[in-house]
């Protein structure tokens, strides 16, 4: 399978929320009990049972009376995935051929390292099961040749899914046609993400969208430098001891050297 990108063109999103419902439907996720807190946005945030969410944001604007931004928020499926890097459980967070980062909640031990490592603060902890949950880019559908549920449901084509090179080309062409502040978000950081936006405003304008997301240097240091180094030193230490044992043998007491200091 070729590497895929989910292209989310925010200029076409009408906030109908088909994506939210399609995701819940496909994944069999329950609805949350919600309140209207003075916004159409509901549930208020991503959660263990809400893998994708439309975030609403009003902006005053001289030209147009105002702007109303709609952002489809979910896991960005980073190429340089901080969550996968820090996860202590082998096989819990893995990469699929499409590029999707899949968190197998059944293996999760609830350490929450992934949440802290994520530049977008995506994975969500469920108190009851003590496990983390997030979007898995419908890898079960994709592996059967289907597109993710949100992309399938989107009526305007704001969410598209296809081969990486084609989607990136499309993204840049679209940003060019839109002009103004339109830009492509996702191909310049964390190794490139598999969910790429076409934004109509600069990234900093959007609530909760980091301008220059990166996996924390500390994690890099820890995982890429310290961990290997410490592994090397531990293994090196064991190895050196073993080598010494082989070469020098075990330490035996030497009887002709004057023996025990306690001897009379």
């Amino acid at each position: 399978m070729n590497e895929k990108i989910m292209l989310v063109d925010l200029s076409k999103c009408t906030a109908c929320r088909s994506c939210q419902v399609a995701c819940k439907s496909w994944n069999g996720l329950p609805a949350e009990i919600t309140q209207n807190r003075g916004s159409f946005q509901n549930p208020p945030d991503l959660s263990p049972t809400t893998y994708t969410l439309i975030r609403f944001q009003e902006l005053d604007d001289k030209e147009n009376s105002m702007k109303w931004l709609f952002r489809n928020d979910k896991c960005f499926h980073c190429e340089d995935a901080g969550c996968m890097k820090v996860c202590p459980v082998p096989g819990c967070i893995t990469r699929k051929p499409s590029g999707a980062i899949v968190l197998d909640s059944t293996k999760c031990i609830g350490c929450k390292y992934c949440y802290h490592a994520c530049p977008f603060s995506i994975p969500r902890f469920d108190e009851a099961s003590e496990k983390m949950y997030k979007c898995h880019m419908c890898h079960d559908r994709v592996e059967e040749g289907m597109i993710p549920a949100c992309a399938k449901a989107c009526p305007t084509g704001a969410i598209e899914f296809g081969d990486k090179a084609i989607m990136l080309k499309k993204a840049h062409a679209r940003a060019k046609v839109l002009g103004g502040n339109a830009n492509v978000y996702g191909d310049q950081f964390v190794g490139g993400t598999h969910v790429v936006y076409v934004l109509t405003e600069k990234p900093a304008t959007y609530d909760g969208l980091p301008e220059k997301p990166k996996v924390s240097a500390a994690i890099g240091l820890w995982k890429d430098v310290l961990k290997p180094l410490s592994m090397i030193s531990i293994l090196g230490g064991i190895g050196a001891s073993f080598a010494y044992y082989l070469i020098k043998g075990p330490k035996r007491p030497k009887f002709d050297e004057g023996g025990d200091s306690n001897e009379e």
Binding site: T14, A15, S25, A31, N36, G38, S39, S65, P155
Partner: protein
């Protein structure tokens, strides 16, 4: 729609007004998005900045109830800048017709047209009716209307229109609507540019236009614009109603309204005792041989309908005798039904797939009226505020004698049948699963009722039994006892299409008795054919179930998809398409041709609106607007109850003391339930009243459906939009000390609801002629029955809306009325 959904992608300029299509018709936005990708301009005009506005190139605010002022200003702009499509206007519309010199315009007649009789008050005329004799054309000796094709005669429709709209200057319009003058100018300019012969503009409208006391005239104003600009009959044009329900088009086509019979025939009146009298009344006569006058075929359709109902059990004349009649002068629409019910004049009531306790304007009156019933039958998927009205908030079950029956029915995916969309496409649907428990499809429920009622009539006699006992009921395989075993929608669809009832030869070809009629051109007035709905004749033929077709090819290139399902009439996708070509049959827009003449007696493209040669062929041709007696589209429209041209009147409840256009404050011919001896004590009006200083409108959200009877029970949808809210401007909220998320009360002269305040920049205060006027908006999807029935919450928007309607349709004015909003709602 005159056009259809996919055709939106062909438009150069899409005006969304009286609609929030992005939210409420989300799939339409697939096509709007495609049009914009091809360079179309999207314009959103709305009191509130909506999801549609968020995608639009241009947004303009407009006070609810002032659309006619806005659009009349656009007509003035088009005429004065000569941006109208000259040949189209002169040749295809009645712009050139000369009007009776006794006709008076509102500008010369205190805000009303000539011929008005009623009671004069300081708000203008009320309880009035028009004598329309001056709304007529000057005639030639042969009876055809006199015309001035140069459009210069001061009595011609064109010059009268120009004079009429000259009063709607940008400054006046802005003072009425609250729309800034520069926005008016910008929008007028971009829309009027579609007057070029190869450009098309379209209008997407919905209840934001229809639910007013000037609802029909709102749409008339746009129809006039579309005719002036040559946008009718062309790809990417048309007048496009986004219907408010997936099959309401089907329900109106099949006449589930009191005033029409299937195919938009008229319901007979008591003063028309015979079929002949009825046909004579409603069959127009054309004077011009070049007018196709398609309604001249009326007797064929009425006769065929009689046969569909009564078969060969009676003659067609006798069948007509059995057909129920309306009392003359009585209007049996919704508002009148509930007024009569409130006054104790109904013993029984079927609420069939309806929730009037929440959907009826002035819902307190509706709920109260139900307490007077002896019995009610609630046919629905779930229980609702109507079936349980007797245990609703403020009700004392001990004092209510109504016996309520709940008949659970199948949902649309639990039965087979068709749904007709806004674009007139009849799309066949299959059954996906069985209905649960005791739920049955509507057709089976009606069949069971029919057999029982028939049996009672046959045993007990009664008033007027033949209307029921002589009906045919051929909707399935019959058992030995003559009754059908199962209700078969294919049999219904075939009856709707129609049959030859005897061997018939048409144009030299023999059609045997019992075969399906190929199209309405074959229907006869002598009772030898049947058809349950002449418009749908051609939908189920010897070739099969046309509505079930799923062909994906589109040789037209303009998205006609002629082999996908079937549309009326005769699968013609774009209506009035003979207006899309010049007199030689060449398309105005060669890159987006709808039909074109290839010579040799053939049209190519869409099904042409009649196969006659183009106009250059002379007398063998026909004018393009075949449904009008004169064959020309109506810019001057004498058929309406309130005027041949639209005129701005304020909503019944408005924030201003005076109508800036004239001394006539509100539409003079509306039924004034609020006045003594007309309505009831529950019909209150509060206009320009300091107790209710805010304009209120109602609307929908993507996530809920109508009164929420289906969607409030669906957790994924309730999660998205859990409860009733009211949107208001930041300025108003500040004045009232209301914070975003606070619970507040919205109250009108009729009732009160509790809602969560959404304080937003998307509503901004209006400057109405120098005064600040605030507007708020509420969705109408909520009610007490679910999700928290024990709380007995007053959450239904219609508790505050007025039950006053358009004089042509009686649709209530739920889009513009006056309220107040106060802090601190609990229940």
């Amino acid at each position: 729609m005159t056009n259809h959904w996919i055709d939106l992608r062909n438009s150069d300029c899409i005006l969304v007004m009286g609609s929030n299509a992005a939210a409420n018709h989300p799939i339409s936005f697939k096509w709007v998005t495609k049009a914009m990708e091809k360079g179309a301009t999207l314009v959103s005009v709305d009191p509130r900045f909506t999801q549609t506005s968020a995608k639009a190139d241009i947004y303009a605010p407009l006070r609810s109830g002032t659309d006619i002022a806005f659009l009349s200003g656009m007509i003035k702009y088009i005429l004065e800048n000569e941006l109208y499509f000259k040949e189209y206007t002169a040749e295809y519309t009645n712009a050139s017709f000369l009007v009776n010199p006794g006709f008076k315009l509102p500008g010369d007649n205190e805000g009303v047209f000539s011929g008005l009789k009623g009671t004069k008050t300081d708000e203008g005329m009320i309880n009035a009716k028009y004598d329309k004799s001056t709304w007529s054309f000057q005639k030639n000796a042969d009876g055809t209307p006199k015309k001035d094709k140069t459009l210069k005669d001061p009595n011609c429709v064109f010059q009268l229109l120009k004079k009429h709209v000259s009063r709607y200057t940008p400054e006046k319009v802005s003072a009425i609507t609250g729309t800034p003058v520069d926005k008016l100018d910008k929008i007028y300019k971009v829309y009027a540019a579609t007057g070029q012969s190869n450009k098309a503009g379209t209008i997407m409208y919905a209840m934001g236009w229809t639910q007013h006391t000037t609802g029909v005239q709102n749409i008339r104003t746009m129809a006039i614009i579309q005719l002036l600009l040559g946008n009718m009959g062309v790809a990417g044009g048309g007048v496009n109603a986004l219907r408010g329900e997936s099959n309401v088009q089907g329900s109106t086509d099949h006449c589930l309204l009191f005033h029409i019979l299937p195919g938009y025939l008229k319901t007979p009146k008591a003063s028309q005792p015979t079929l002949k009298a009825y046909n004579d009344k409603y069959t127009p006569k054309a004077t011009d041989p070049m007018s196709a006058n398609w309604w001249g075929n009326y007797p064929k359709y009425s006769a065929s309908l009689m046969r569909a109902h009564y078969g060969m059990n009676t003659s067609i004349e006798e069948a007509y005798t059995h057909t129920p009649k309306l009392d003359d002068g009585v209007n049996y629409s919704w508002l009148n039904i509930f007024d009569k019910m409130y006054k104790g004049n109904f013993s029984g009531f079927f609420a069939w797939g309806m929730n009037p306790a929440c959907s009826g304007a002035n819902a307190n009156k509706v709920r109260e009226s139900m307490t007077k019933l002896k019995w009610m039958v609630n046919v629905n998927i779930f229980d609702n505020e109507t079936g349980s009205f007797w245990k609703g908030p403020g009700m004392n079950p001990k004092e209510i004698d109504t016996e309520v029956f709940m008949l659970p029915c199948a949902a649309s995916m639990e039965k087979e049948g068709s749904i007709t969309n806004s674009g007139r496409w009849m799309q066949w649907r299959y059954k996906a699963t069985n209905p649960p428990g005791q739920a049955r499809p509507d057709g089976d429920i009606i069949t069971a009722l029919y057999y029982k009622i028939k049996e009672l009539y046959e045993e007990e006699g009664g008033k007027y039994p033949e209307a029921i006992t002589k009906l045919t009921w051929n909707y399935g395989l019959k058992m030995p006892n003559g009754k059908i075993k199962h209700f078969d929608t294919h049999e219904v669809a075939k009856e709707i299409n129609g049959y030859f009832l005897k061997d018939t030869t048409v144009k030299g070809k023999l059609y045997k008795k019992g075969t399906l009629v190929p199209s309405f051109a074959y229907l006869q007035a002598d009772g030898s054919t049947s058809s349950g709905n002449w418009l749908y004749c051609n939908s189920y033929t010897e070739k099969g179930n046309m509505a079930a077709r799923r062909g994906k090819s589109d040789p037209s290139g303009i998205g006609l998809y002629a082999n996908w399902s079937w549309c009326w009439p005769v699968n013609r996708r774009i209506l009035y398409n003979r207006a899309s070509v010049d007199k030689n049959g060449a398309p105005w827009a060669p890159e987006k041709p709808v039909i074109w003449w290839t010579g040799a007696t053939k049209w190519k493209g869409d099904v042409p609106d009649g196969g006659w040669a183009p106009l250059s062929a002379g007398s063998s041709s026909k004018y393009p607007f075949i449904m009008k007696p004169e064959g020309h589209a109506h810019i001057f429209g004498p058929g309406r109850a309130d005027g041949p041209f639209p005129e701005h009147y304020e909503p019944l409840e408005c924030p201003v003391e005076n109508n800036l256009m004239s001394p006539q404050l509100v539409n003079p011919v509306i039924k004034r339930f609020d006045l003594k001896d007309i309505g009831s004590d529950m019909d209150k009006r509060a206009s320009c009243d300091p107790k209710y200083p805010l304009v209120c409108t109602t609307y929908r959200v993507s996530e809920h459906w109508q009164t929420g009877v289906m969607t409030r029970w669906q957790p994924w949808l309730l999660e998205l939009q859990p409860e009733m809210f009211v949107e208001m401007s930041r300025e108003l909220a500040k004045n009232k000390g209301i914070n975003n998320g606070d619970k507040v009360k919205v109250r009108s002269a009729r009732g009160e609801v509790v809602a969560v305040a959404i304080v937003t920049g998307r509503f901004k205060p209006f400057n109405i002629n120098g005064t600040t006027v605030h507007e708020v908006g509420i969705p109408w999807h909520y009610g007490w029955r679910f999700p928290n029935p024990q709380k007995m919450e007053m959450r239904s928007a219609n508790l505050v809306t007025p039950n006053i309607g358009d004089p042509n349709t009686m649709i209530p004015e739920t889009k513009a009325f006056m309220v107040d909003v106060v802090k601190g709602g609990t229940k």
